[in-house]
Amino acid sequence: AQSVAQPEDQVNVAEGNPLTVKCTYSVSGNPYLFWYVQYPNRGLQFLLKYITGDNLVKGSYGFEAEFNKSQTSFHLKKPSALVSDSALYFCAVRDSQTGANNLFFGTGTRLTVIP
Protein backbone atom coordinates (compact mmCIF):
# COMPACT_ATOMS: atom_id res chain seq x y z
CA ALA A 1 0.00 0.00 0.00
CA GLN A 2 1.16 3.51 -0.69
CA SER A 3 1.17 6.09 2.05
CA VAL A 4 2.95 8.95 3.72
CA ALA A 5 3.43 9.45 7.42
CA GLN A 6 3.94 12.68 9.27
CA PRO A 7 5.07 11.57 12.72
CA GLU A 8 4.66 14.96 14.41
CA ASP A 9 1.25 16.56 14.88
CA GLN A 10 2.85 19.77 16.11
CA VAL A 11 6.23 21.42 15.65
CA ASN A 12 7.24 24.55 17.53
CA VAL A 13 10.28 26.58 16.57
CA ALA A 14 11.61 29.99 17.51
CA GLU A 15 11.66 32.70 14.87
CA GLY A 16 15.02 32.77 13.09
CA ASN A 17 15.83 29.15 13.91
CA PRO A 18 15.93 26.41 11.28
CA LEU A 19 12.80 24.31 10.96
CA THR A 20 12.18 20.73 9.88
CA VAL A 21 8.84 19.07 9.24
CA LYS A 22 9.17 15.32 8.84
CA CYS A 23 7.63 13.02 6.28
CA THR A 24 8.28 9.37 5.48
CA TYR A 25 6.76 7.48 2.59
CA SER A 26 5.93 3.99 1.44
CA VAL A 27 5.47 3.40 -2.29
CA SER A 28 6.07 0.80 -4.92
CA GLY A 29 8.17 2.12 -7.73
CA ASN A 30 9.59 5.60 -7.99
CA PRO A 31 8.08 8.07 -5.55
CA TYR A 32 6.56 11.35 -6.63
CA LEU A 33 6.48 13.45 -3.47
CA PHE A 34 4.89 16.80 -2.66
CA TRP A 35 4.62 19.37 0.12
CA TYR A 36 1.65 21.65 0.58
CA VAL A 37 0.90 24.39 3.10
CA GLN A 38 -2.52 25.41 4.40
CA TYR A 39 -3.18 28.72 6.13
CA PRO A 40 -6.31 29.16 8.27
CA ASN A 41 -9.57 29.09 6.32
CA ARG A 42 -7.74 28.58 3.04
CA GLY A 43 -7.13 25.80 0.56
CA LEU A 44 -3.80 24.06 0.17
CA GLN A 45 -0.93 25.80 -1.60
CA PHE A 46 1.71 23.82 -3.46
CA LEU A 47 5.21 24.32 -2.06
CA LEU A 48 7.48 21.90 -3.88
CA LYS A 49 7.81 18.45 -5.39
CA TYR A 50 10.31 15.69 -5.99
CA ILE A 51 10.00 13.72 -9.21
CA THR A 52 13.56 12.86 -10.11
CA GLY A 53 16.98 14.45 -10.12
CA ASP A 54 18.67 16.30 -7.26
CA ASN A 55 17.77 15.06 -3.82
CA LEU A 56 17.51 18.62 -2.53
CA VAL A 57 14.45 20.33 -3.94
CA LYS A 58 13.87 24.05 -3.60
CA GLY A 59 10.38 25.49 -3.48
CA SER A 60 8.32 28.53 -2.65
CA TYR A 61 8.86 30.94 0.28
CA GLY A 62 12.42 29.72 0.95
CA PHE A 63 11.40 26.14 1.71
CA GLU A 64 13.35 23.14 0.55
CA ALA A 65 13.00 19.40 1.01
CA GLU A 66 15.52 16.61 1.02
CA PHE A 67 14.67 13.30 -0.61
CA ASN A 68 16.41 10.37 1.09
CA LYS A 69 15.78 7.07 -0.62
CA SER A 70 17.52 4.88 1.94
CA GLN A 71 15.48 6.36 4.78
CA THR A 72 12.32 6.74 2.64
CA SER A 73 12.02 10.30 3.87
CA PHE A 74 11.17 13.67 2.38
CA HIS A 75 11.59 16.20 5.17
CA LEU A 76 10.66 19.83 4.65
CA LYS A 77 13.21 22.40 5.78
CA LYS A 78 13.83 26.11 6.02
CA PRO A 79 17.05 27.71 7.28
CA SER A 80 15.37 30.55 9.17
CA ALA A 81 11.75 30.37 10.29
CA LEU A 82 9.36 33.32 10.08
CA VAL A 83 6.27 33.88 12.20
CA SER A 84 4.31 33.94 8.94
CA ASP A 85 5.38 30.33 8.29
CA SER A 86 2.98 29.23 11.02
CA ALA A 87 0.48 26.98 9.24
CA LEU A 88 -0.55 23.39 8.61
CA TYR A 89 1.81 21.41 6.37
CA PHE A 90 0.88 18.32 4.37
CA CYS A 91 3.15 15.80 2.71
CA ALA A 92 1.70 13.83 -0.22
CA VAL A 93 2.69 10.96 -2.51
CA ARG A 94 1.34 10.04 -5.91
CA ASP A 95 -0.77 6.89 -6.16
CA SER A 96 1.14 4.86 -8.72
CA GLN A 97 -0.72 1.59 -8.23
CA THR A 98 -4.29 2.13 -9.34
CA GLY A 99 -3.56 4.21 -12.41
CA ALA A 100 -5.66 7.04 -11.06
CA ASN A 101 -2.53 9.04 -10.19
CA ASN A 102 -4.29 10.70 -7.29
CA LEU A 103 -2.35 11.99 -4.30
CA PHE A 104 -2.32 10.43 -0.86
CA PHE A 105 -1.97 13.11 1.81
CA GLY A 106 -0.44 12.73 5.25
CA THR A 107 -2.28 13.71 8.40
CA GLY A 108 -0.63 17.13 8.54
CA THR A 109 1.82 18.85 10.88
CA ARG A 110 0.96 22.13 12.54
CA LEU A 111 3.98 24.43 12.59
CA THR A 112 4.06 27.25 15.09
CA VAL A 113 6.85 29.79 14.88
CA ILE A 114 7.29 31.61 18.15
CA PRO A 115 8.33 35.27 17.97
Binding site: N41, L44, N102, L103, T107
Partner: protein, 114 residues
Protein backbone atom coordinates in the same frame (compact mmCIF):
# COMPACT_ATOMS: atom_id res chain seq x y z
CA UNK B 1 -5.49 34.95 -14.33
CA UNK B 2 -5.80 31.17 -14.20
CA UNK B 3 -7.29 30.07 -10.92
CA UNK B 4 -9.71 27.77 -9.15
CA UNK B 5 -12.81 29.16 -7.47
CA UNK B 6 -15.26 27.85 -4.92
CA UNK B 7 -18.59 29.30 -3.86
CA UNK B 8 -19.93 29.87 -1.36
CA UNK B 9 -16.97 30.23 1.01
CA UNK B 10 -19.19 29.70 4.04
CA UNK B 11 -22.64 28.11 4.25
CA UNK B 12 -24.89 27.51 7.22
CA UNK B 13 -27.96 25.49 6.39
CA UNK B 14 -30.65 23.49 8.13
CA UNK B 15 -31.00 19.72 8.15
CA UNK B 16 -32.78 18.26 5.15
CA UNK B 17 -31.94 21.04 2.70
CA UNK B 18 -30.46 20.35 -0.70
CA UNK B 19 -27.19 22.14 -1.35
CA UNK B 20 -24.76 22.49 -4.22
CA UNK B 21 -21.17 23.55 -3.72
CA UNK B 22 -19.70 25.17 -6.78
CA UNK B 23 -16.17 24.70 -8.12
CA UNK B 24 -14.77 26.23 -11.29
CA UNK B 25 -11.27 26.42 -12.70
CA UNK B 26 -9.83 28.48 -15.51
CA UNK B 27 -6.57 26.55 -15.83
CA UNK B 28 -7.79 24.23 -18.55
CA UNK B 29 -7.20 21.18 -16.37
CA UNK B 30 -8.96 17.95 -17.25
CA UNK B 31 -8.78 16.33 -13.83
CA UNK B 32 -10.70 17.66 -10.84
CA UNK B 33 -11.18 16.52 -7.27
CA UNK B 34 -13.29 17.04 -4.15
CA UNK B 35 -11.83 16.55 -0.69
CA UNK B 36 -13.49 16.65 2.72
CA UNK B 37 -11.47 18.04 5.58
CA UNK B 38 -12.46 18.52 9.20
CA UNK B 39 -10.80 21.71 10.54
CA UNK B 40 -7.07 21.27 10.93
CA UNK B 41 -7.28 17.61 10.03
CA UNK B 42 -6.29 15.37 7.16
CA UNK B 43 -7.85 15.44 3.72
CA UNK B 44 -10.12 12.69 2.46
CA UNK B 45 -10.73 12.29 -1.27
CA UNK B 46 -14.47 11.87 -1.88
CA UNK B 47 -14.82 12.34 -5.66
CA UNK B 48 -12.70 12.89 -8.73
CA UNK B 49 -13.14 13.27 -12.46
CA UNK B 50 -10.88 12.64 -15.43
CA UNK B 51 -12.85 14.99 -17.67
CA UNK B 52 -16.29 15.71 -19.07
CA UNK B 53 -18.86 13.01 -18.23
CA UNK B 54 -16.36 11.22 -15.97
CA UNK B 55 -16.95 10.89 -12.22
CA UNK B 56 -15.31 8.48 -9.78
CA UNK B 57 -15.69 7.84 -6.08
CA UNK B 58 -12.71 8.54 -3.86
CA UNK B 59 -11.28 6.82 -0.85
CA UNK B 60 -13.87 8.10 1.62
CA UNK B 61 -17.48 7.11 1.13
CA UNK B 62 -19.71 10.15 0.82
CA UNK B 63 -23.43 10.74 0.43
CA UNK B 64 -22.68 13.59 -1.93
CA UNK B 65 -22.81 13.38 -5.72
CA UNK B 66 -20.90 15.23 -8.42
CA UNK B 67 -21.30 16.01 -12.10
CA UNK B 68 -18.95 17.09 -14.85
CA UNK B 69 -20.84 18.53 -17.78
CA UNK B 70 -18.21 21.15 -18.60
CA UNK B 71 -14.46 20.88 -18.27
CA UNK B 72 -14.18 23.91 -16.03
CA UNK B 73 -17.08 23.12 -13.69
CA UNK B 74 -17.31 20.35 -11.05
CA UNK B 75 -20.21 20.93 -8.63
CA UNK B 76 -20.90 18.80 -5.57
CA UNK B 77 -24.45 18.20 -4.39
CA UNK B 78 -25.94 16.99 -1.14
CA UNK B 79 -29.59 16.05 -1.62
CA UNK B 80 -30.44 16.19 2.08
CA UNK B 81 -27.92 17.84 4.36
CA UNK B 82 -27.29 16.41 7.84
CA UNK B 83 -25.18 17.64 10.77
CA UNK B 84 -22.68 14.86 9.99
CA UNK B 85 -21.96 16.67 6.70
CA UNK B 86 -20.55 19.64 8.60
CA UNK B 87 -16.99 19.99 7.31
CA UNK B 88 -14.74 21.90 4.95
CA UNK B 89 -14.92 20.89 1.29
CA UNK B 90 -11.91 21.53 -0.92
CA UNK B 91 -11.92 21.40 -4.70
CA UNK B 92 -8.72 20.86 -6.68
CA UNK B 93 -7.59 20.35 -10.26
CA UNK B 94 -4.57 18.99 -12.10
CA UNK B 95 -3.36 18.33 -15.59
CA UNK B 96 -4.28 14.95 -16.97
CA UNK B 97 -1.45 12.87 -18.33
CA UNK B 98 1.18 15.26 -17.02
CA UNK B 99 4.34 14.02 -15.44
CA UNK B 100 4.13 16.19 -12.38
CA UNK B 101 0.69 15.47 -10.88
CA UNK B 102 0.58 18.41 -8.52
CA UNK B 103 -2.91 19.59 -7.66
CA UNK B 104 -4.10 23.17 -7.34
CA UNK B 105 -6.66 23.91 -4.68
CA UNK B 106 -9.53 26.31 -4.32
CA UNK B 107 -10.08 28.26 -1.08
CA UNK B 108 -12.65 25.78 0.22
CA UNK B 109 -16.27 25.91 1.37
CA UNK B 110 -16.92 25.62 5.08
CA UNK B 111 -20.31 23.93 5.49
CA UNK B 112 -22.26 23.90 8.73
CA UNK B 113 -25.49 21.93 8.93
CA UNK B 114 -27.67 22.79 11.92
Amino acid sequence: EADIYQTPRYLVIGTGKKITLECSQTMGHDKMYWYQQDPGMELHLIHYSYGVNSTEKGDLSSESTVSRIRTEHFPLTLESARPSHTSQYLCASSEQGASSYEQYFGPGTRLTVT
